[in-house]
């Protein structure tokens, strides 16, 4: 499951070799942050939790046996942290998405929407795009936890069903049925804006 380069990195991480942990964070920080941002809809919470994810990775790297890829293992840690943080925030009735969609946060425009030369979107198109993105994010955030996690992992993080099975810890059939329900629920929520 784990390639040679990854095995070397894991060996270095376990030996606390200088630079190894920095390398791991640089490789995985954006995927972890994006997952948490989409799950929590709050920049500060996502940033804080991403740091906690890497602290857990640092503390538990000895327990990593290489049965799955390092990325899958990190995603699993991130998902567990996310579920715990959601419970904590629910107890505190915390919800604040005002900091989402800051323009400077974006680095990778989505596939097919990249503003290439000669196709720079007009301000009204950009405003419309932002509005739609906000609606989609709100609809995703309105899904229940287990459906949202599967949808974000599959349709935003672009992971395979096998990887999602390992991360979430449920059989492939359950992953697929959760994904189907999540997509159908989103379709219902967004239908009036798409027709």
């Amino acid at each position: 499951m784990v390639g040679n380069a990854e095995k070397r990195l894991v060996r270095k991480l376990k030996a606390r070799a200088p630079g190894a942990f920095e390398s791991l964070i640089k490789n995985h920080q954006s995927s972890v942050f994006n997952l948490l941002y989409r799950m929590l809809s709050n920049r500060e919470e996502a940033e804080d939790l991403a740091q906690e994810v890497f602290i857990t990775v640092f503390k538990q790297i000895e327990a990593f046996r290489g049965d799955s890829s390092l990325a899958t293992w990190i995603y699993r840690i991130a998902s567990n942290h996310c579920i715990n943080r959601k419970k904590y925030l629910a107890r505190r009735r915390h919800y604040d998405s005002k900091s989402l969609f800051d323009m400077e946060d974006r680095v990778q425009p989505a596939q097919g929407k990249s503003p290439i030369s000669g196709q720079v979107p007009r301000p009204d198109e950009m405003a419309e795009g932002l509005q739609m993105e906000r609606l989609v994010q709100e609809a995703i955030f309105g899904l229940d936890e287990e459906h949202r996690l599967v949808l974000v992992l599959r349709d935003i993080q672009n992971l395979s069903y096998e990887e999602i099975e390992e991360i979430v810890g449920v059989p492939a059939g359950t992953v697929k049925s959760r994904l189907h329900r999540a997509r159908m629920a989103l379709k219902e929520k967004l239908a009036q804006h798409l027709r």
């Binding site: 974006r106 989505a110 596939q111």
Partner: protein, 133 residues
């Protein structure tokens, strides 16, 4: 194929996981059923919007923030700044010089008292001060 069955297949159809016979059956249903065709179109456009969501980059300084937290929680066991060899050498040298000076002063004092005792004199405080000078 009924409407419910057709809509159950949307996800597998979108992810290209249906057999060719299932694809054929679903597509002929969609061609004949306007309601399901509209549903499929909404589903497809929903998927386009989801896949079009922007990817957010990690905040600048994530590595440093994580390392600082680990350093603080481990009470400096990890990610503490390592002193350079020259700094370590300077600190050790300074401590050794202090030790030599202290040892020299103590030995000088002891030698002087011993010499005076051998001469049969017990030095007064003034003599000791004078000797020290």
């Amino acid at each position: 194929m009924d409407h419910d069955r057709a809509r159950e297949l949307f996800t597998a159809y979108h992810d290209e996981e249906l057999s060719s016979s299932e694809v054929e059956e679903l597509e002929s249903h969609l061609a004949a059923c306007e309601a399901c065709s509209v549903e499929w179109d909404t589903y497809r456009r929903t998927m386009e919007e989801i896949s079009g969501l922007h990817k957010f980059a990690a905040p600048v300084g994530m590595t440093e923030a994580v390392e600082q937290k680990i350093k603080r929680r481990s009470k400096g066991r990890f990610f503490s700044e390592q002193r350079s060899f020259s700094t370590q050498f300077a600190i050790v040298s300074f401590i050794l010089i202090l030790l030599f000076m202290a040892a020299y002063l103590v030995l000088t004092e002891v030698t002087e008292i011993t010499v005076l005792e051998e001469d049969g004199k017990t030095p007064t405080a003034q003599e000791r001060d004078a000797g020290a000078r």
